[in-house]
Amino acid sequence: MPSGVLAAHASDLVAMPAADPAALTAFWFAGDRESAPNVQIAASQFDRSSQAWASPQFVVNRHAVGDALGAGVRRLGNPVAWIDATGRMHLFVVGTGWGGWAASRIVHLQQISASGDPILRFEPRGLLPLSWLWNVSYLVRTAPLPLVDGGMVLPAYFELGAKTPVALRFDARGAYLGMVRISRRTFVLQPALVATSPTHWSALLRDQGDSGKIRVSRTLDGGATWHDGPDLPLDNPDAGIAALGVGTQHLLAYNPSTSTRQNLTLASSDDAVAWTSVQDLERGGSGDEYSYPALAWADQSLWVSYTDRRKRIAWRRFDWVAEPLTFATPTALARSTEPANRSNSSSVKAAQ
């Protein structure tokens, strides 16, 4: 945590290219409290040579973003990072207008510091134009699904009244291509995307309805159309989740409860339907909160970060056994809709 910071939340992890001195970059928002005026986006990089995290630095400030855009940004939150086909990092950050989180917009920033530079610097590329109603109230939270053309699908969601998840498509250089709605339900948000084949993807959804379970929507055509599916038999206390595909395996970090965020668990699945718990990440006491997990695969390891009682960001690293990659045969759909592997090898059982 940067010094003097009282609260931290909503971390995100992005694996760095093999040639980069850092294996991983973590982003989160930090300040006096969530939605405090002094909240900024913080970052830290895990150095490959020293095997340690660098000192955290603030990389996005709402005043600087407002000056660059020519319009005010009231609060910042929920950073989501992605590296494009040229190796440049993009950062998507929630910036609120008048009215709190429900008046949020998604700010798209891109890296201007050189690759390998320990000081990360970003400049705003603009606001993503996502709605006619003064461009409110879209947010990001979960990791993008990378595609084989170098582009990606960025999960996002609308949350003013109706909570609806959407998938935003970007090309290999980070240009916005369009939006597809993920679910017809109006009480699900923060979609976490996993691909079970080049064209079969699942969106695992945080539930704000009454089921208390992780909701699901699936696509069979590479994200062109989505269909709501039956709920997973996994509890969800209206809390954020994280999912990651590593080869043929799918991983899910979630709070296994219908009412509290005091426990955090890692589960795995072969088909994104049947999930098995493989690791307790946290088992807290009454009133504790371990939430908003993020997952990444880097240097043959699984990395997990999450919010620790809203005061700091915790992280863990798991070593994994690699196995050959066995993806399904690509279909006739355009290459641009096929998901890319997040690693060059697959993996199965975790060994801490």
Binding site: L69, G70, A71, G72, G97, W98, W132, A162, R181
Partner: protein, 220 residues
């Protein structure tokens, strides 16, 4: 190509030509300045008194909109409402250019083409507003980045002249969409989405207000 394929081609997501963040900074200053100036003059007209002092007061918000950063009003209006539509900007420009004329004259507002545009605005805004809350099965707003919406918007903008065969139609509410489409074609302002160029929520509310007022007067 069958109709479903054609429809998918025309409505599928295309790479939107988003205006640069730098150009939008200037567009935000200019458009808010125009709109605020028109609102200031409208306020001045409504007040019974007229003096140089009041005229100066009416122009102050327009000048204020050109101050960059947190000291400028465009910065805060942008925080809440982003940038007004280009149609709003051209209607404001008309108000400024013809500031000594009492406008809009009632006969102009009763024109069938003005009526047509007001209803078009009402329907479009209602659809986009409902779409914001995911009422429809497919999102409508993203179509505004595609060629179908672009062609449709141009066709609608030119419709009054094409159908009437009267090239002398001059009501500002009629040529504003044409001018907006021309500027949008050149710049992509304000978002690269044609719906945002044609209509913003405040303009939609104004259109609804005009229609309600006309309906009330007819009933009265």
């Amino acid at each position: 190509m069958n109709f479903p394929d054609l429809w998918q081609t025309l409505t599928q997501p295309y790479a939107p030509l988003l205006p640069s963040a730098q150009s939008l900074v200037w567009a935000r200053h200019a458009i808010w300045s125009l709109v605020l100036a028109a609102l200031g003059l409208a306020w001045l007209r409504r007040s019974a008194r007229s003096s140089k002092l009041l005229l100066g007061v009416a122009w102050l918000p327009a000048l204020w909109a050109w101050i960059p950063g947190p000291w400028g009003i465009a910065y805060w209006l942008g925080l809440a409402f982003q940038i007004p539509s280009l149609v709003s900007a051209f209607l404001a420009l008309y108000v400024l250019v013809h500031r000594k004329r009492n406008s809009p004259p009632q006969e102009a507002l009763r024109s069938k083409w003005v009526f047509f545009w007001l209803w078009s605005a009402l329907v479009l805004g209602a659809v986009l507003g409902l779409d914001t809350f995911a009422v429809f099965a497919f999102p409508v707003y993203p179509w505004g980045f595609g060629p179908l919406a672009f062609a449709l918007a141009w066709a609608l903008a030119l419709l009054p002249w094409v159908v009437s065969g009267n090239l002398t139609l001059r009501q500002p509410i009629l040529w504003s969409p044409c001018a907006a489409m021309a500027l949008f074609t050149l710049t992509g302002w304000p978002t690269g989405n044609v719906w945002d160029a044609l209509l913003d929520p405040w303009l939609w509310m104004l259109a609804v207000g005009c229609l309600l007022r006309q309906t009330w007067r007819r009933l009265a």
